[in-house]
Symmetry: C2
Subunit: 382 residues, 2 copies
């Protein structure tokens, strides 16, 4: 197959920042792209060859879009799965496969998959709905973690239940109750696999949390953990991707427990926030490797050139409207600092507006600069 | 001034591969761009906010385009200078300044500028036209280098005159005769300067020539030369940029003579082929730094993370038509190899179609892989 400067067309479902960053690499390789997104102001609208506005959850919209392209991928999991399955059955290359997506979209199914494949994960129980869970509350040990099985993202749909009354405000939807396992570190490993079976893992990254706010502040690569724990995490991530027969990127989020066990929390079958550092720090960025993987090209080197730390830029509380990045000029003057602005005109509290990568040959120096960045730049409105 | 996700508009004259690579960074910073190019199939057509088709040498076209934007830059020197001057006089920020471009566009004027500012360069004489040169041929020592003063590029418009009959095929245009100075190495340094006066140089790169064909095969960073020569080259390049009161990138091409003097050959006031390695190898690529400079933002770190070598991809002789990059899948499997395909549908003999960067912590290893790349990939037509 000839992809470069040819008539070959790659379709991307979703036109957010992940798609936008993937488009850098399709442009670098001069690969034609079609993008489908519900918003006419999607960050990916520019830099794709053709943009289509439409509902990603609508069967006909997704199916008809898929018919226009030669390979189909997605940058968001919330897409019409039945349309993907029909397209795959009709012979279209859909990567990652809807078979995998079906195992991931529902967290209950995802957890069952780990259990069936001996992949370490926190013990859990599935419930059809909240009423169902409540009726069996006496069998559950407090505290536990409630998770709705579908449509949750970025911490939405997850709640720690310390007392029975904590259940009061929750929606009556399908859910799981997961044993709460105290952990030392939240880790992630991005795995990359192509249809020919070539498979590589990126180094382990570490999410550093704000000491009080319980919010991820920094994604740090490489994780500042024991080499043995890192090896274990990479081996588990590799195993998960292989068990899924996955094609493309798989971001595997894990916990390092108090006694240095590593357990899988959840996965995302696409480029991931925890891999953004790779644009500046890695020999091959996660986006380029996703593209290589779904086109069955050889995978690029996943090693790092230098240490990388990523700081998310989210809209500050109390500000809505046309965005201003206060002090961005200031942080641009610091060593190894690169902002990525996603291209959303309007900020809202906690909206993901961009990220900043800090690279340095010395990870301690990078961490210091990252803290300065975090404390200096503000995403507000004018 | 607020550039990011705002109504600010950057205009770019020229929509070739240099503009295309610059657009990656305008997208990363979410800066609006307008592009003007004569070809409707220009590589920059995609990824800019608005594309205008028009003649870059036409006064009205360039002037009217300039009136639409807040800052104007160019990725090619062959633009209507009078229009730029009028726009600058009317208060538009035009970077690099047309004042500098006027000193560079004509090689005779450029050489006079070096002489007037004590910048080392090969001795030369200016002639109004070839007849004029011929009439004074007895004063010139053979061999010498004939250069037409305008509209030459990529070795066009340059000829070594060993015998008087070598002049026969030349056009009767304004020209210079330059003393031929044998050199050990062809070097280049990219300088970056913003309107506030912040100035940085990239490391010295070395052009490695094919032993027989006298054609640049590899651009190597850092140059494998004595540190003292490197320091001299960087100091001279810095001096040239400062003398021009330059804003933006200035690529300074130099020769290292047999006795380790460094003399200036010529300059280009824009991102340059000799800086393409910086996308993968540098903390801040030449394109990002050009953008930072012309927007008067702080400059990024020009140091390298790793060694970088660039191989140009030019159309092979004997092939014209729809391009195919033979064996590109193969080279993608090698360590640290990234192809950049410019997005031109049709190849022609010697047309610049792309480049390949090879990065590695070990420059010798990078050089080996670069040679394999050079000998493996072929730009042909189907």
């Amino acid at each position: 197959m000839n992809y470069f400067s040819s008539d070959f067309k790659l379709g991307i479902l979703g036109g957010g920042q992940l798609g936008k960053m993937l488009l850098f690499d399709t442009r670098k390789f001069d690969i034609q792209t079609y993008v489908l997104d519900p918003s006419n102001e999607a960050p990916s609208r520019m830099a794709c060859n053709q943009f289509f506005q439409g509902d990603l959850m609508d069967f006909d919209t997704v199916y008809n879009f898929g018919k226009k392209v030669d390979v189909l991928t997605f940058e968001i999991e919330l897409v019409n799965l039945e349309a993907l399955e029909k397209l795959e059955n009709e012979g279209l290359k859909v990567y990652p496969s809807p078979k995998t997506l079906r195992k991931i979209q529902n967290k209950g199914v995802q957890k069952d998959f780990y259990a069936a494949n001996n992949i370490p994960t926190a013990p859990f129980e599935r419930f059809e709905n909240l009423d169902n869970l409540k009726s069996k509350i006496n069998d559950l040990k407090l505290p536990f973690v409630w998770k709705c099985t579908e449509f949750g993202y970025d911490g939405n749909g997850v709640k720690i239940i310390r007392e029975i009354t904590d259940l009061d405000s929750l929606p009556n939807v399908e859910c799981i109750a997961e044993e709460m396992i105290p952990f030392k570190n939240e880790l992630a490993v991005i795995v990359c696999q192509n249809p020919s079976g070539e498979i590589k893992t990126y180094p382990v990254v570490e999410m550093e949390f704000h000491p009080e706010a319980n919010q991820v502040e920094y994604v740090i690569c490489p994780a500042r953990i024991d080499e043995k724990v890192a090896e274990k995490a990479r081996a588990i991530a590799l195993n998960v991707s292989q068990n899924f027969n996955h094609v493309g990127l798989l971001a595997v989020e894990m916990f390092q427990t108090q006694n240095d066990e590593v357990i899988v929390n959840e996965v995302a079958p696409r480029p991931h926030n925890s891999g953004h550092y790779s644009i500046e720090a890695s020999y091959t960025s996660q986006f380029e490797n996703h593209l290589r993987a779904i086109l069955d090209l050889p995978l690029g080197n996943t090693d790092s050139k230098v240490a990388g730390i990523m700081v998310n830029l989210v809209g500050e509380e109390g500000f809505s409207g046309n965005v201003v990045y206060e002090n961005i000029e200031k942080i641009l003057g610091w060593n190894g600092v690169t902002p990525h602005i996603y291209g959303k005109k309007e900020t809202r509290p906690f909206r993901k507006m961009g990220h900043v990568t800090i690279v340095n040959s010395d990870i301690k120096e990078a961490r210091k600069i990252a803290e300065d960045v975090k404390n200096t730049i503000r995403v507000i409105s004018k």
